[in-house]
Amino acid sequence: MRVTVTVNGTTETHDVETRMLLVHYLREIRGLTGTNIGCDTTSCGACTVLLDGESVKSCTLLAAQADGEEITTIEGMAAPDGTLHPIQEAFHRHHGLQCGFCTPGMVMAVASLLKEHPDPTEVEVREGLEGNLCRCTGYHNIVQAVLAAAHSGELVP
């Protein structure tokens, strides 16, 4: 089937199999391999992207369901000149990553979380990231990074 999807501001049309998952579409058709595949069972959150501004797990959507929609991936977060997004900057500054595999999904989940809770408590951050697993168990610094990003004053609500 033919799908037209806007990814990080660029709209393209492709013929894909009806059963193609959004994550495979992003990685293989669009060449955006920043979105990782972890558990492939809607659990780990490594494949999290934004669909119309809301976090979703791209291993559990068909590319067909994204037809006509706007997707943001980790590649769409930094400015064109390479300046990190405030969330990325906070992860960098607060060492919110160890091996880094969960990080793209974490950053996208945080973008959605901070839109819904611009001034979150620590509990809201922890609960808001319940859909993202860090196998390095580096949650402490991830939470610190999210709180710092929220309070940086640099996020556009």
Binding site: T18, R19, T42, T48, V56, L61, A64, A109, S112, E127
Partner: protein, 275 residues
């Protein structure tokens, strides 16, 4: 993991969906948010020949004050139900439970209709609508019919919906106070090992998550409450007549123990909230 091949059709209306369902009801499945069906399809536990995507059918996402009850469109996403002012005011149990389903990403996509039609005894929302004595509204080739929640959940992943019918609305009686929801799981986003939805507003109703092959009411507890038992006495009868399964998460015996503990907590919490 990639689903088996299927033909994909996007419905623009309920009529579209019902028409395509009628062509071959047994090998056609409706796709709403896809968060119950797609995981099954990826595991090849479901291999529909035709997938009818109803996710964009307009007019089926709402939470409406309908006088003595609240009407919820089947395509209402968990997140929208969680933050709905109407749901929070009149059926806070349902708003709360919607906010407990899966994780934020799942709640952004999953729908109440999809979750209920899936009929998974480990899901939270079926227990909530059972405790709230909800009515399911289904449309099909023979017209519209209403199904009581107590008749809706028939077995493991089996509901009273016919293969050519579509769940379109859920009607829930108002229960602004005297409710509680308890669930126990090992990791934040997991399904409940056991869960309890209790409503003490009116006739006491207690529904259990994952205490059998389908969502069930704790009839023993309800009878005890009606006879004037206190929370601990009523909770002791939580698993009466039920046959919870043993699996890698818990033994049947442990589930019975959890049901007693969680029902007691839920009854105490609900009674305190009733004031």
């Amino acid at each position: 993991m990639i689903p088996a091949s299927f033909e994909y059709r996007r419905a623009g209306s309920v009529e579209d969906a019902l028409g395509w369902l009628a062509e071959d009801p047994d090998s056609t499945k409706l796709l709403a948010g896809g968060h119950s069906l797609l995981p099954l399809m990826k595991l090849r536990l479901a291999t529909p020949g035709v997938l009818v995507d109803v996710g964009r059918v307009p007019g089926l996402s709402y939470v409406r004050d309908a006088g003595d009850h609240v009407a919820i469109g089947a395509l209402t996403r968990h997140r929208d139900l969680e933050i709905s002012e109407v749901a929070r005011a009149f059926v806070p149990l349902l708003a709360h439970v919607a906010g407990q389903v899966g994780d934020p990403q799942v709640r952004h996509r999953g729908t109440i209709g999809g979750s209920l039609a899936h009929g998974d005894p480990a899901s939270d929302l079926p227990a909530a609508v059972l405790a709230l004595d909800a009515t399911m509204v289904a449309d099909g080739p023979r017209g519209r019919r209403e199904i009581a929640a107590s008749d809706f959940f028939r077995g493991f992943l089996e509901t009273a919906l016919e293969p050519d019918e579509m769940l379109t609305e859920i009607r829930v009686r108002k229960a602004p106070s005297g409710w509680a929801f308890q669930k126990f799981n090992r990791r934040a986003q997991d399904w409940a090992i056991v869960g309890v939805a209790a409503v003490l507003d009116g006739d006491p109703r207690v529904a259990l998550v994952n205490m059998g092959s389908t969502t069930v009411r704790a009839r023993g507890t309800e009878e005890a409450l009606a006879a004037g038992a206190d929370a601990a006495e009523a909770a002791d009868r939580a698993s009466e007549g039920l046959e919870p399964s043993s699996d890698l998460h818990a033994s049947a015996e442990y589930r019975r123990h959890l049901a007693t503990v969680l029902v007691r907590r839920a009854l105490v919490e609900a009674a305190a909230a009733r004031g």
